[in-house]
């Protein structure tokens, strides 16, 4: 099981990702550098997502990212 929140906390360098209802993009947590780091980290875990083909709105929450990972796996 990939701990998405833990990866997010590391790439965004902020525990605010654990907050209820956090919007990663609105809050500025997932800025362009964190974005690159996130996809790098997911690749390290064997998840090869195509960021330019993903609707940005799907990256707003940790749950959204977990959903993307689940879809990749199927």
């Amino acid at each position: 099981m990939i701990d998405v929140r833990k990866i997010l906390a590391e790439v965004c360098d902020d525990d605010a990702v654990y907050e209820e209802g956090i919007d990663l993009i609105e809050s500025g947590l997932l800025d362009s550098l964190a974005f690159v780091e996130l996809f790098d980290r997911l690749e390290d875990e064997g998840i090869f997502l195509q960021p330019t083909q993903i609707d940005r709105s799907r990256l707003r929450t940790p749950e959204g990212i977990e959903q993307l990972i689940a879809e990749y796996r199927n």
């Binding site: 362009s32 550098l33 780091e37 790098d40 195509q50 330019t52």
Partner: protein
């Protein structure tokens, strides 16, 4: 009479009159038109005065014509990014004493002319003509403003001789010297001297310079679009920008067979980035360049090979044999001397510059080493960082935070990744009782400094931890999270 840099540009223009010199989005201009317009405008610019000329425009063709026209007119141009907050623009105007601002925006100028280049030039319907006046090699060609630790931007004046030296150096750099008729990508703002590399490599050698107005921090797909549409052969960019392009699996040698070379400068190039780049483009020529603004964009470069990736822990930033200027290591610091080095900051501001037997020198503040004929760059001696390619003095941010009403004290730190690149800037702020909250501090800072200098996270804290010497304990600040 043309001088070295204008002679180079004239030769390129005359040999390539019908080739597109510059393209931004849907707008393009040939070498013939660029040169003729620049010559025509040079006379009006010269008649208007002698002060530096501030260019406060986006990347339209007019901006490039203005740069060349200023070179021909013998007046320094000062490119200022349109996203710069008004307060900072006002400081730059005051510091340069600029009496001509070429812009399409509202600007407050005490004395002088604010207009577009077209408006200035329509006063003169003359035929384009070569400048009949003398052009002094030691005149200031351009001035770039960089982050200053006092909170005031620092003006770096670069002479025509400095610029000619750089232009000759990059024209002769392998493999760039072998290319003909290329599409060269500009990514950096004209207010950053990474752009000096693409502008003078392209326009000094008959290539086509291509750009768009994408904001690299938020519109990373747009750079990729330019690659796709314009069939880029040579890209000049920061490593961060390349990381963004590499997010796209379609960015490969198969889809972009004409992409032959990338020239990186402006921030540390991580091995990881080159490894990834080689997976997408196995035969790409990768140049890693190094140099401070104070030494005209870059002073050294080296081609990165897969052998180097295997052999080196940290990538070199230059090959000593092909350096643009004299490079030495003194007390572990990279010190530069010679033709690329500036003559000192605007206003005589201190720091780094020195002269020795009539030669200009500059102590970069970068730790470095020379091994096997290659230059390596370590960390900084001071609080200067590179964030997404932008050069920032942490004290610049701190000074501007302290200027916010209600802020009593602050400390700015960075978080980094394993290879030493900065991933985010953080600020810790102590406010007076009833003072501003985080959102207010952020908003107040944003009108003072460019957006990339506003820390990703600002925390209002009760006090800053202090160590035994009474100095802010930056390590302890990390525990605040």
């Amino acid at each position: 009479m043309p001088d070295t840099i204008t002679k180079r540009m004239e030769a390129a223009a005359k040999a390539n009159r019908d080739r597109i010199a510059y393209k931004c989005g849907e707008h393009a201009i040939t070498y013939g038109t660029l040169w003729d317009e620049a010559c025509r405008c040079a006379a009006c610019i010269r008649r208007q005065g002698t002060s530096p000329v501030v260019l406060f425009q986006d990347k339209r063709c007019e901006t490039v014509i203005a740069m060349v026209a200023c070179l021909l007119a013998g007046r320094a141009y000062v490119p200022v990014d349109v996203k710069t907050p008004a307060k900072r623009v006002a400081r730059i105007l005051a510091m340069t004493g600029a009496e001509l601002v070429l812009t399409d925006r509202e600007i407050d100028l005490q004395r002088g002319t604010v207009c577009t280049l077209a408006e200035l030039a329509c006063l003169s319907e003359n035929e384009p003509s070569q400048p009949e006046w003398e052009l002094d090699e030691n005149r200031i060609a351009y001035m770039i403003f960089t982050s200053g630790s006092t909170g005031e931007p620092k003006g770096v004046p670069i002479t025509a001789a400095n610029l000619a030296n750089f232009a000759d150096w990059i024209a002769g750099l392998s493999p760039l010297c072998d290319y003909k008729n290329c599409n060269v990508l500009n990514q950096a703002s004209f207010a950053f001297d990474l752009s000096v590399a693409d502008i003078y490599y392209a326009l000094g050698n008959g290539h086509t310079l291509v750009t768009n107005e994408a904001d690299m921090r938020t519109e990373y797909d747009r750079i990729f679009e330019v690659f796709a549409k314009e069939r880029i052969n040579v890209a000049v960019m920061t490593p961060t920008c390349m990381k963004m392009c590499l997010l796209n699996d379609a960015f490969t040698a198969e889809n972009f067979p004409e992409f032959q070379c990338v020239y990186f400068c402006g921030e540390r190039l991580e091995k990881k980035t080159v490894e990834r780049l080689f997976r997408h483009f196995p035969k790409l020529a990768v140049i890693n360049a190094y140099g401070p603004t104070e030494a005209t964009s870059a002073v050294s470069a080296v081609t990165i090979t897969s052998e180097m990736l295997a052999a080196e822990e940290v990538l070199p930033v230059g090959c000593m044999a092909t350096a643009a200027t004299e490079i030495a290591i003194e007390d572990g610091e990279i010190v530069l001397r010679g033709k690329s080095v500036f003559g000192g900051y605007l206003g005589g501001v201190c720091g780094g510059h020195f002269t020795e037997n009539g030669t200009n020198g500059y102590r970069t503040g970068d730790y470095g080493e020379i091994r096997d004929g290659k230059l390596y760059c370590g960390g900084r001696k001071d609080g200067q960082i590179k964030y997404m390619g932008y050069r920032i003095e942490l004290a610049d941010i701190e000074s501007n935070l302290l200027a916010v009403a209600g802020v009593e004290d602050c400390a700015v730190t960075v978080s980094g990744n394993a290879e030493g690149a900065v991933s985010a800037i953080r600020a810790f702020v102590v406010c007076e009782p009833g003072g501003p909250d985080e959102a207010c501090v952020r908003a107040a800072l944003a009108v003072r400094v460019p957006a990339y200098m506003v820390p990703k996270k600002i925390s209002v804290v009760a006090e800053l931890p202090v160590n035994d010497n009474g100095k802010i304990d930056r390590k302890a600040l990390r525990q605040y999270d």
